[in-house]
Symmetry: C2
Subunit: 337 residues, 2 copies
């Protein structure tokens, strides 16, 4: 297994991402191909007691697409960027997957531009793996690749998400729900209504509409489908609720000696919770539907988070999802996907 | 001040809502007109040591619109429902406001059908008042009245929200933000992009795009604008994040004697948090843009929550928002609207 890692496009310094790549490479016996400024990468490797060559290689790039670059223009103009160089290397077949903590819009645009779509898939979808209180993760697709979606795009997200649930998470017959503002069949906007009709008549076990406030606690389905705008709002709102609650708790806990003592006794509980909801543990979001294994890591990814993203990429490559998709999503229910 | 209260349409028994109405009436010297089954209301009043007549009146209705009734059809067919009877009474001028914990879609449809829109306002918007960690509430509009919105609808939401912030919350020059999936000007879907352009050229202090994960903690603006589908997803996702976090904390805390002791020391902190994030404290969501003061309370409202909703209705009626809107939203920035 060989994985390309873009160490330039994230919020943290490249050295941090090199450290994450080295740790993941050693843990899983994966070759890591670091894409970025060769001097920076070599220095970072030396600092970790490693050298380029053998398990760790350097793929040189000369510029960087920044978080605030307009995606489509950046992809057109910055051909020497770590993102485009990495995707081109993936396309050439020298590696099995590409991981980037960069500008999401640019990774989507660059992947479409360089790799193209799997035939038959109208739009790629960004998939998030979320924790639940039922001790089993669930999937949400799309969480930000497409802001304006037609119902047939959501249909493809459902099929890709179910295929991922089956091949990567090992759920034999994954159930699908439509993210909506009420459980009744007729709830929601036009796209939701039309998607509901398509999914109800489709091949997947469709559980109907699911509401956002129950997903983490109840985990009603294995795969939640939505357009990328709504999915991204959902993810960030969940994050906002958790962040507000924990900030307020921290403040309240620091009020006096007794509450501090209480917090000391609960320190493991607090650490457990941080662990469950940490994006570092989940690592990265696979961009499904493009012709290659591409995983988008959180922009603020540190070494640990990048290790998680590399692991997501490894599992997806091992499941041969792209090849499965190429055989046609429609046959999913028949051929065991 | 006279306020109509629908005691039939909520999830809790009418007696609970009558109790909330009586408490609110006594606290604020408001006449409460209970809309519902007269026998049930009279029995509930007797149980509280009150009688109909004087401060508490009974407005009889004969049927109920349920949470799972299809809104438009229910409004057409159930003319004798507490919802329609209450709205008709409001329209007749015998009271200043109407509060219902019923089916949101039916309250919106019934209000449009019975009261109509304020001239010049294309769509009503449901406004949520949310807490923040900056010790000041902020507003989100629309959180569920309209699932499919055009940019000009969001423009009207911005003007109504700002007017509410000024007249009810006392913020002289409220700032407005557009709920979006990134801060950059070009982020988001088509509706967001077009709304951004309208708001940037409009009369309100526009702060650009705001992201959901920062709203509760940073409170970047006074008024957040979005379509009703996205706004409802936002609200329920925030609720989901908080609920998952607190459930997990509770579980973790019950693990052993030491963690239980820790929880005991932190019990006031936990109570404080429940208080801050409780919908009971916030009470109800005003439906702005219809020709009358209508407040939608949470379906699960108990006596305390209904008291909060009545308070929201009272403050809105005192601010004469409907009259202000009738003078035209466009003049907002000029006439101190």
């Amino acid at each position: 297994m060989r994985i390309l890692l873009d160490v330039m496009g994230g919020d943290l310094p490249p050295g941090e991402l090199v450290a994450g790549g080295v740790a993941a490479g050693c843990r899983h016996s994966i070759d890591i191909l670091f894409v970025g400024d060769p001097e920076i990468i070599r220095t970072a490797l030396r600092g970790l007691g490693e050298t380029a060559g053998g398990r760790f290689e350097v793929v040189p790039s000369s510029e960087v697409i920044r978080m605030d670059d307009p995606p489509v223009r950046a992809v057109r103009e910055k051909r020497g960027s770590s993102l485009l160089v990495g995707l081109t290397a993936l396309k050439s077949g020298i590696a099995d997957a590409f991981v980037s903590p960069g500008n999401t819009g640019a990774v989507v645009a660059g992947s479409l531009f360089t790799l193209g779509r799997v035939p038959g898939i109208p739009r790629p979808g960004l998939l998030a793996v979320l924790p639940s209180l039922r001790n089993q993760d669930f999937l949400v697709i799309d969480v930000g690749a497409n802001s304006d979606c037609a119902p047939e795009h959501l249909e493809a997200f459902a099929l890709m998400g179910a295929s991922y649930a089956r091949s990567v998470l090992g759920i034999a017959y994954p159930t699908v729900g439509l993210l909506n503002i009420g459980e009744e069949d007729t709830k929601g906007n036009r796209v939701a209504n039309e998607t509901f009709a398509i999914l109800r008549n489709g091949p997947l076990p469709f559980a109907g509409n699911v509401e956002p406030h129950l997903l983490l606690t109840e985990r009603p389905v294995d795969v939640v489908v939505c357009d990328g705008f709504v999915g991204n709002i959902f993810l960030k709102s969940i994050e906002g609720g958790i962040s507000a609650f924990s900030t307020l708790l921290r403040r309240s806990v620091l009020r006096n000696a007794l509450t501090k003592a209480g917090a000391f006794l609960l320190r493991r509980s607090f650490a457990d919770m941080r662990q469950v909801f940490s994006y570092k543990r989940r690592g990265g979001a696979p961009l499904l539907g493009v012709n290659g294994v591409v995983v988008i890591a959180h922009g603020r990814s540190d070494a640990e988070a990048i290790g998680g993203a590399i692991d997501v990429a490894r599992r997806q490559a091992e499941a041969h999802l792209v090849q499965r998709f190429s055989k046609g999503l429609e046959g999913w229910a028949l051929d065991g996907g």
